[in-house]
Structures are given as structure tokens and as C-alpha cells.
């Protein structure tokens, strides 16, 4: 070591930022450095990059930046040293080295050679790809072919790093400086990775595609493809969004860049008569005495509703708002299906509607969709009364995910059993129970559930219907340690969380059935309170019903 480098390197050991800066300034003052001296200095500088600096306000950050510049100024002679660090350095230090090498002219060939040398080492490759991200212009173009290879890697970290690298390239290289062919390849490779099972990879893909759109790398068709992909991730077309929040978030961020303006070929809701729905009754069918199945024209709700969600109905201008479950829909034809049992004033007024009549107002979809996932064991959906309809969409969703689904329908007597055939279509098997034994198993739905539990492993249950039924199922599943969802039909007003009328106690906490629910963990629900709250207005309901008869 020469004296002058020795002196400087020694100063690098200091903790004092002032001294460090002096050392860096001295390097800048030396214009006649020998190759060996440069390497000595580079090693000294490298040690700096491994230092821990705690937060962004740390004065060390300024020093680091200047140290990067100083190291880059040493040029080609120190490239090997830098690359040596890049393939092994810790995650923080590597960023410094990456920036340094990107600022050394004509160092890209050395980087690519190193990439070949280490092509099977996951960590080395991701670090080298990170380094490539900091190159600009022609250098960056040179690297693209290599990067593209790595976008097909089996290793998700490498794959993600390569795709991220492509995104960065768009920023570094003007679209006019790069051939159409290469741009197409970049797009195709990234696009192909969209279906990767790893969220990290998909996240990087969205970002890369977004950057391509931003920097005009894509032709209109490709922009459209990216656009469609982002929409699908956000669940905008088929309502099955990407399960990973980070991916959705990124897609949402880039979505507006793709906005083509004007007609993008998607079916607009405004076509529905300027968003206005008439809520006309399309068909009406009596299921059993006092209980009707309605199809109602509500195209906007039909587009969006999911299993487990509900609507709020107001049949006439003078009516109260009552929540109703949904038992089906047709997104294309734009109708929803509900089952109404006439009991009080408002439900009676609703069932009095005939085909061609309109409901005054229907608002929805409300509440959260039912919890559906792939279970190890069987899923049992249990319905009583109107609830038999409400479990059908969830049963269908569970089945779609590959679950074995069994339905149970309970009623007092055979003539009161409803929707059994429809439920059969959605389930692998259906049991019926009647209190008087006139159909299926004699007794309650829990008798059927017990039989099923004896035979096979049950993972989850969903019950919708009268509260005593939900209580019985909750009790039984709790004893057997089986998951238990119940859909709570609390009294509601607005259905959006605004009023708190629908308060229920779950696990000792107050929850809003309309917004947090309607599905809750049956083992934690205070059913006693629910029943009593449901009875809050019984006297009034009687008066209202009497008034209707007069």
C-alpha cells in the first residue's frame, strides 16, 4: 500500500462523519492513482457500505452517497472487486454496490459475464439483477436478453428480480431507442408470468407491465391486454379478484394508466337506463303457503351480488326497509331471486306484489360475502324456511372450490319443505328433516347433521334460518369442534353501518350485522340478545298488520 492510500483507508475506519467526508474529498483530489491504489481504496470504501446506519436521518446517509460516487469514479479497475461484493453482500450493502456499478461506464459486460458464472446461485443472481437495474441506455439494452432468460426461472426470487429488472429498464431506456421486437419479448415474458402462483412474482409483473404502459413501450393491443389483466386482478370483470392484497394494490395503482378513454368494450352499468333500476317482478311462484319465490329485475345488483350478501327492500313509499337474503341471480339477464315469507306488515305487502308490479326501492348488495375456502373435510349447509334459499349460492361457491358439500333442509312437515331440488343441484347430497316424519329424517336438522358427522369428517357448517335452529347447530358443532357460520337476521334500517340498529354481540363485542356480517361465528354469538332484540317492535308490528287488513 502506498502511504497516501494507507492514510485514506485508515480514515475510513472513523465513526466521525466529518473525517469520513475529508477522506472522500481527498480521493477526489487524486488524479494520478495507480491501478493497485484504486483497488486498495475500493476495498476500503467497500467496508463502509457494510456499516449499519440506523435511520434515514442518519448523517451517514449523505456520506454513503458520496462514497458511492467516489467508488464509481475509480472506474473499470475496481469492477471485479465490486462484483465480488455484489454476489455475496448482505441485503443492504448490495444496494450501494449496485448503484456504484451502474455508474461505471462499460462495466455491463463484466456484470453479464459474472451472471453467467453464477447463473445457478439464487442469491448471486438476484443481486446481480439488482445491479443491472441501475444501468441506463445502451448498457441496459445489452442486458435484456439475459434478463429475459431469468424471467423463466423456477426460483420465484430470481424470477421476481428479473421481472422487476425489466420494469426498471423501461424507465432507463427511451422507448425509441429499443427495437419493437425486444419490446414485444419483454411484454410477452412478463405477461406469461402473470399466472405465477407466488404473489411476489405477480406483484412484480403488474409493476413491470404498468411501467411499460407508462413509458409507452406497448402497442394499443398490449395496453388492452395489460388493462384486462389489471381489471381481472381487481375482480372487476369476473368478481374473482387476486387473493393477494399486494397484487391488487399494485394493479389499482397502475390501472388508470391504461385507461383508454371512451369505449373500452366493457359493458357499462349506465346502459341500464342511466343506472336506474325498476325492481319489477319478473316471476312469482308459491313455494308453500305464505312463502313465495320472486325474480326481480335489478340488473346493477345482479352484476355484483355474491353468496351470503343481502339486500334491503322497501315495497311502497310508506314502507319500512327490511333486509332479505338472496337465493340466486342471473348476471346476464339482470335479475335477483328472493324468497319472502309473509309474516308482518312489510313482508305481506311484499308478497302481495304480482308479476309486473314494482318494488319501490331495493338497495344492495349489502354485507360481506360468505366465507368460502377449500376445506379438508365436508362442508354442510343447513337451511330452514327462507334460509334454504339463502344457502344455495354459498353451497355452489364451496363446490366450485372442490369441496364436498352436503345440504340439510328442515321443516315442520313435508308440505313446508322448500327449494330442495334447487339445493340438490348445488350440493353433492341433500338430507331433509321433518318434525312429523312426513319426509326424510324425523326430527330436526341436527339429527341429520349428527348422522353426517358419524359418517364423515365435517369441517364447516353454515346455517341460515330460524334462530332456534341456528342455536341447535351451534351447540352441536361446538361440542364436536366444528366450524360454524350463522347468518344473523337482525333488525335493520340503512344496512350500511350508519345507524347501529342491527347491533349484535359477538364474542362480547358489539358488531353491526349489516356491515360486519351477516355471517358470524355461531359459537360466539349472543343468541339470547339477538332473539330479544328481534322482538323489540312486536307490538308495533301487530298494529301495522292490523292496519293493513282494515
Amino acid at each position: 500500500m502506498t502511504d497516501r492510500t494507507k492514510k485514506i483507508v485508515k480514515m475510513f475506519a472513523s465513526r466521525d462523519t466529518q473525517q469520513l467526508q475529508t477522506a472522500l474529498d481527498e480521493i477526489a483530489g487524486l488524479s494520478d492513482l495507480l491501478s493497485t491504489e484504486k483497488m486498495e481504496l475500493a476495498s476500503g470504501l467497500a467496508a463502509l457500505f457494510y456499516r449499519e446506519h440506523t435511520d434515514r436521518k442518519d448523517p451517514m446517509n449523505g456520506i454513503m452517497e458520496n462514497a458511492e460516487k467516489a467508488m464509481a469514479s475509480l472506474g473499470m479497475d475496481v469492477v471485479d472487486i465490486i462484483l465480488g461484493h455484489i454476489v455475496e453482500a448482505d441485503l443492504e450493502a448490495v444496494e450501494h454496490f449496485a448503484r456504484v456499478i451502474g455508474n461505471i461506464e462499460s462495466s455491463i459486460d463484466a456484470v453479464l459475464a459474472k451472471l453467467d458464472e453464477h447463473k445457478d446461485g439464487q442469491y448471486a443472481v438476484t443481486n446481480l439483477l439488482l445491479a443491472i437495474e441501475s444501468f441506463k441506455d445502451k448498457d441496459a439494452i445489452k442486458a435484456i436478453d439475459k434478463i429475459l432468460l431469468f424471467t423463466k426461472s423456477d426460483n420465484p426470487q430470481v424470477k421476481a428480480a428479473a421481472i422487476s429488472c425489466i420494469g426498471k429498464t423501461c424507465r432507463a431506456v427511451d422507448t425509441n431507442d429499443i427495437s419493437q421486437d425486444l419490446k414485444n419479448k419483454m411484454f410477452d415474458h412478463c405477461f406469461a408470468a402473470l399466472s405465477d402462483p407466488k404473489a411476489l412474482v405477480r406483484l412484480r409483473v403488474v409493476k413491470a407491465l404498468g411501467e411499460m404502459v407508462r413509458y409507452s413501450y406497448l402497442d394499443p393491443d398490449q395496453v388492452n391486454k395489460a388493462h384486462k389483466a389489471f381489471r381481472a386482478i381487481l375482480g372487476m370483470d369476473d368478481y374473482e379478484w387476486d387473493v393477494a392484497y399486494i397484487v391488487r394494490n399494485e394493479a389499482e395503482h397502475y390501472l388508470h394508466l391504461c385507461r383508454s378513454g371512451g369505449n373500452n368494450g366493457y359493458k357499462s352499468a349506465a346502459n341500464v337506463d342511466g343506472f336506474k333500476q325498476d325492481f319489477r317482478v319478473i316471476s312469482k311462484r308459491e313455494l308453500c303457503p305464505n312463502t313465495y319465490h320472486f325474480r326481480i329485475n335489478a340488473p346493477l345488483i345482479a352484476r355484483k351480488i355474491q353468496a351470503g350478501q343481502f339486500i334491503i327492500v322497501r315495497p311502497h313509499p310508506h314502507s319500512e326497509r327490511i333486509p332479505l337474503s338472496i337465493c340466486g341471480w342471473d348476471r346476464k339477464q339482470g335479475y335477483i331471486e328472493i324468497i319472502i315469507m309473509s309474516a308482518g306488515r312489510t313482508s305481506t305487502e311484499s308478497t302481495n306484489k304480482e308479476v309486473g308490479d314494482c318494488f319501490q326501492d331495493i338497495v344492495g348488495p349489502l354485507g360481506q360475502r360468505s366465507h368460502v375456502t377449500k376445506y379438508d373435510g365436508t362442508c354442510v349447509v343447513i337451511g330452514g324456511g327462507y334460509g334454504t334459499g339463502a344457502i344455495i349460492p354459498t353451497a355452489r361457491d364451496l363446490k366450485k372450490l372442490g369441496n364436498r358439500v352436503i345440504g340439510i333442509v328442515g321443516a315442520r312437515s313435508k308440505n313446508l319443505l322448500i327449494m330442495v331440488d334447487e339445493l340438490r343441484d348445488a350440493c353433492d347430497e341433500v338430507y331433509t328433516t321433518t318434525n312429523d316424519g312426513s319426509d326424510g329424517i324425523e326430527g330436526f336438522v341436527t339429527h341429520a347433521l349428527e348422522k353426517i358427522i358419524e359418517k364423515e369428517k365435517v369441517s364447516t357448517t353454515l346455517s341460515v334460518g330460524p334462530v332456534p335452529m341456528m342455536i341447535a347447530v351451534s351447540k352441536m358443532t361446538q361440542e364436536k369442534g366444528i366450524e360454524c357460520w350463522v347468518s344473523l337476521n337482525a333488525i335493520m334500517v340503512d344496512g350500511t353501518g350508519m345507524c347501529g340498529a342491527c347491533r349484535v354481540s359477538v364474542d362480547g363485542k358489539t358488531r353491526f350485522a349489516c356491515f360486519h356480517g351477516p355471517d358470524f361465528d355461531g359459537h360466539k354469538v349472543d343468541f339470547d340478545q339477538l332473539v330479544k332484540r328481534q322482538r323489540m317492535f312486536v307490538d308495533k308490528e301487530k298494529i301495522a298488520l292490523e292496519a293493513l287488513k282494515d
Binding site: 394494490n249 389499482e252 388508470h256 342511466g274 334500517v493 350500511t496 353501518g497 347501529g500
Partner: protein, 497 residues
């Protein structure tokens, strides 16, 4: 005023303020009619003549929407009420509502120069007079609507914020659609503020006026659920969105018995009555369990409205508030009206528990008796329990503790930033949110304030939406990222310039 010699400033100021005549408390609690009688033409002219037309009218700055107050007062004085109406309408398109519900004592009237020595000019009452005159005489309102720009804007929520934004953008020539979750428009002005303070007819005329201007209204649309913000901009071709969804998520007490039957949030109680007409049961079929002894928790404006509603429905009403009268957040006028209307106040009473019977109906309220401590570090006197407790019999309880912001839209939108109380974060200058092309204003970004502040923000947002649509929007946005950041507090100074 008959002789032509102009009044001197001194003569103007020293006239006594014309107090608003009120209907007698004993009679007014028997119905839902408006409590103030309204000015006669003579009273109005006389009151308007108290304005000295000062050089630096601070009242204009004190008005969140910047009404040219001296100008309209001068017109009233000269008898040209139609001219005054037009003057007000240049900047405020809901004068009838604002004249009734604005806290003028904290705004224009608070800074009125005349008020330095005498009582300030009754600006609010005069605004109300002008608006009523305009309506009663069917004066034409002629907004100048610019030629169509071909740009589409979606407004979410039809409260004062949404309506104002719709108006401002429509007159600038944009195609405006308002989406409302409920089956009718007006927001809190309908389902919160009682009829005896703001008759429905007034709101309906304003809505009709907007419709005539070409603003489209779509009801029963819960944005976030039926259409997301992205879908609005993507599929429906809206070029910008304004969120004016208010603060609809009642704060809970978190004490035992809060879920007993007969315990309501103020929102539920007022909505059942004023939106759903439960007081006209069974002609309207929405039920309300209204007891004879009603306890109301809280002493803000909403609590006053609840109490005054309760007494009109025949209940014996008592207010429970943990601080003293001086700290009550309600406007003085509201508090006085409530006191006139035979409402009992139990100051320094902090509810501990609601007691219920076997049917889950509330039967009693248990309170701790409080006293105010010496001022603490923050200079405030806090209520501290004295150790004493009492139990009152009640069969209805309404709690009015304010609202948090409803999470429906933020939950359905990934990149709409909210703070930890759910308040939508916006850039203060432009009302732009963290999401491109989406602006917000009103209670949704303040976490609950007033009609006029909501309108002021909406006007500001509309101005910037207009620039945004014209491609002239090049602000460096500063949307807070700190989850603890407060909702924006609208200071008048900041708004100027």
C-alpha cells in the same frame, strides 16, 4: 327610511338588533313545525340597515363559502330582495338551509364589526329571509350554465357537500351524476336535522332545482358495493369522482347494556323519524319504540335535536352529560331552545351502565356524579368521578356521541388513504385524495362538522376538479400518510388566496 337622507354609521349600528320571533314553547312542542317565525319585510329591511357597509368586511372571510354579505344586505335594505337572492346565489346555492342551520355566531356574525360595540347584524336571519322570500314568491333562479364540456363527474352522496359540488360542476358545463345510498336526497339535512329546524320542502326544492339544471340523481346506490370507484372511472367513463359520503358510523358508548332494546344511536332514532316517518306510524310502517321517560346521552347539537324530537313525541326528556353546561358543545341558541322546551338537564352525570329487564328492554340508567378538576396541563378542566352514583328510571335511551367515518368506500378501494379513525385523507389545497382523479369533502374528510363547512370544501373541490378536467391540474399533492393525522380542519385563513 322614507326620507332620503342616508343614515350615518352611528345611526345604523345603534339600532337595536331585531330578534327573531319564536313560537311559544308550550305550543311548539306539540308539533314539528318550525320554531322561528321568520322576519317580516319591515323587520328585514330594518335589520339590514344596521350594516355599515364597512371597507374591510370581515364577514365575507368569516363565511366558508364567501357570500358577499354587505352587498346582499344593501339590496335587502333597498327593498330589492330578488337582487339580494341573486347575490347570495352567486356563492351559496342552499341559502334557505344555511340561514337556518349555520352556526353564524361562530362565523360571519362573530367577526361583524358592528358586534365590536353593539349586537352584530343578524346575517343568518336575513339570509333565511331572502331565501324564503325567493321561494314564496317563486322568483326565477337563473343559473348560468356553461356550454357542455363533455366531461363526466360522479358525485357520491347527496348531503350538502355532494349537492354543492354537483351544482358548482354543473354550472361549469360538466355532466354530473349524483349517487345516493338512500332512497332520497339531502343527507343529514333530511335524516338528521329535525323538521322543526329545517322543513323538508326546502330541501326538496333545492333538489328539484338541481334536477332542472340537468344534474342526474340515482338513488339506492351504495358506491363501494354496487359499483367501485374504479368501475365508475373505468367502465362508466367518469373523468373524476367526488366523495361526499358524510360521517355515518355512530360511536358506541362501550358500557354494559348498550345493546338493550330501547337504546338507540342518535342516527337510528332520527333516521327512523325524519327519513322513515316513524312518527306517522302506522300510515308509515317503520316502527319506533318511543318510551315515556327518555334519557339522552351527550350535549352536542345532535343531542339537542334528539331531545327536542323526543319531547314532541310526548316523552319526558332528560339530558345526561359528564361535563357542565359551559362545556356543552351545542350552539348556545340550540341549548336555549331546548331549555325553553322543558328538557331536564343533569350536568356532570356520566353514564356507567344501562339496566334492563328480562325482555332485554331498558329500564334504568346508572350514572356517576362527576366534578370538574382543576385545569390540567392542556388547560382544560376534566370531569372526574366524585364517587357518588345514582340510578334514574328510563324506558328509552338515545346516545349521541358523534360519528366516525363510514368504511364502505375505503374498504372497497385499495388506494384510498384514510387515517386510523377512517377519515379520508386529502390534500388540503385541492381536496384531492390519494387516488388519482378522486376528490373528497364534507364530513367524510373532517370527521363531522357543519353544513356550511361541507359546502365550502365542496366548492373548493369543485374548483379543482374543474381544473383537473381541463388538464390544468399540476399541484404537488400532499396527502398525509400518518395514520394518526387528523381530519382536515378548515381554517378560513388557509382558504383565502
Amino acid at each position: 327610511m322614507s326620507d332620503n337622507k342616508p343614515l350615518t354609521a352611528k345611526e345604523r349600528m345603534s339600532k337595536p338588533r331585531n330578534e327573531m320571533p319564536l313560537f311559544d314553547a308550550k305550543e311548539r312542542i306539540l308539533n314539528f313545525n318550525e320554531v322561528p317565525v321568520g322576519f317580516s319585510m319591515e323587520q328585514a329591511q330594518n335589520e339590514a340597515s344596521r350594516c355599515i357597509q364597512c371597507k374591510k368586511p370581515e364577514c365575507i372571510q368569516g363565511c366558508p363559502v364567501g357570500i358577499n354579505i354587505p352587498a346582499f344586505l344593501k339590496l335587502v335594505e333597498s327593498g330589492d330582495v330578488a337582487g339580494a337572492a341573486q347575490k347570495i346565489r352567486e356563492t351559496n346555492f342552499l341559502p334557505a338551509a344555511c340561514g337556518r342551520v349555520c352556526p353564524q355566531d361562530k362565523q360571519c356574525e362573530a367577526v361583524c364589526i358592528v358586534g365590536k360595540k353593539y349586537d352584530p347584524v343578524g346575517i343568518g336571519n336575513l339570509e333565511r329571509f331572502v331565501a324564503d322570500y325567493e321561494r314564496e314568491h317563486n322568483l326565477p333562479r337563473q343559473p348560468k350554465i356553461s356550454p357542455s364540456t363533455g366531461k363526466k363527474v360522479a358525485i357520491i352522496g347527496s348531503g350538502p357537500a355532494g349537492l354543492t359540488c354537483a351544482y358548482e360542476l354543473r354550472i361549469r358545463g360538466h355532466d354530473v351524476t349524483v349517487f345516493e345510498a338512500f332512497h332520497r336526497g339531502g343527507g343529514v339535512m333530511v335524516y338528521g336535522i329535525p323538521r322543526f329546524r329545517l322543513p323538508l320542502q326546502i330541501i326538496d326544492e333545492d333538489l328539484k332545482f338541481l334536477e332542472e339544471m340537468g344534474v342526474k340523481f340515482v338513488y339506492n346506490m351504495i358506491i363501494g358495493n354496487i359499483l367501485t370507484l374504479d368501475e365508475l372511472m373505468e367502465d362508466e367513463g367518469f373523468d373524476a369522482v367526488f366523495i361526499g359520503t358524510g360521517a355515518g358510523l355512530p360511536k358506541m358508548l362501550g358500557i354494559p347494556g348498550e345493546n338493550l332494546n330501547g337504546v338507540y344511536s342518535a342516527n337510528e332514532y332520527l333516521t327512523r323519524i325524519y327519513l322513515m316517518h316513524a312518527n306517522e306510524f302506522p300510515d308509515y310502517t317503520t316502527p319506533l319504540f318511543q318510551g315515556k321517560k327518555m334519557g339522552v346521552i351527550g350535549a352536542g347539537n345532535t343531542a339537542m335535536d334528539v331531545m327536542r324530537t323526543g319531547i314532541r313525541l310526548g316523552a319526558d326528556v332528560t339530558c345526561y352529560y359528564r361535563r357542565s353546561r359551559d362545556e356543552a358543545p351545542a350552539r348556545t341558541e340550540e341549548l336555549e331552545h331546548a331549555e325553553q322546551e322543558f328538557i331536564n338537564f343533569k350536568w356532570l352525570s356520566s353514564p356507567l351502565e344501562f339496566i334492563g329487564n328480562e325482555n332485554n328492554f331498558v329500564t334504568g340508567i346508572k350514572c356517576a356524579v362527576m366534578e370538574l378538576s382543576e385545569p390540567d396541563d392542556s388547560g382544560r378542566r376534566r370531569p372526574v368521578p366524585t364517587g357518588e352514583e345514582f340510578i334514574d328510571e328510563v324506558d328509552t335511551v338515545v346516545f349521541s356521541l358523534g360519528c366516525d367515518v363510514n368504511p364502505v368506500i375505503p374498504n372497497a378501494t385499495n388506494d384510498l388513504r384514510v387515517n386510523k379513525w377512517g377519515v379520508i385523507m386529502v390534500d388540503e389545497t385541492t381536496c384531492h385524495t390519494s387516488k388519482a382523479g378522486v376528490f373528497a369533502g364534507g364530513d367524510a374528510v373532517t370527521g363531522g362538522s357543519t353544513v356550511i363547512l361541507a359546502m365550502g370544501q365542496a366548492k373548493n373541490a369543485a374548483k379543482h376538479i374543474h381544473e383537473y378536467l381541463a388538464g390544468r391540474f399540476d399541484y404537488k399533492l400532499d396527502v398525509p400518510t400518518d395514520p394518526e393525522a387528523p381530519g382536515i380542519q378548515w381554517s378560513f385563513a388557509k382558504r383565502k388566496g
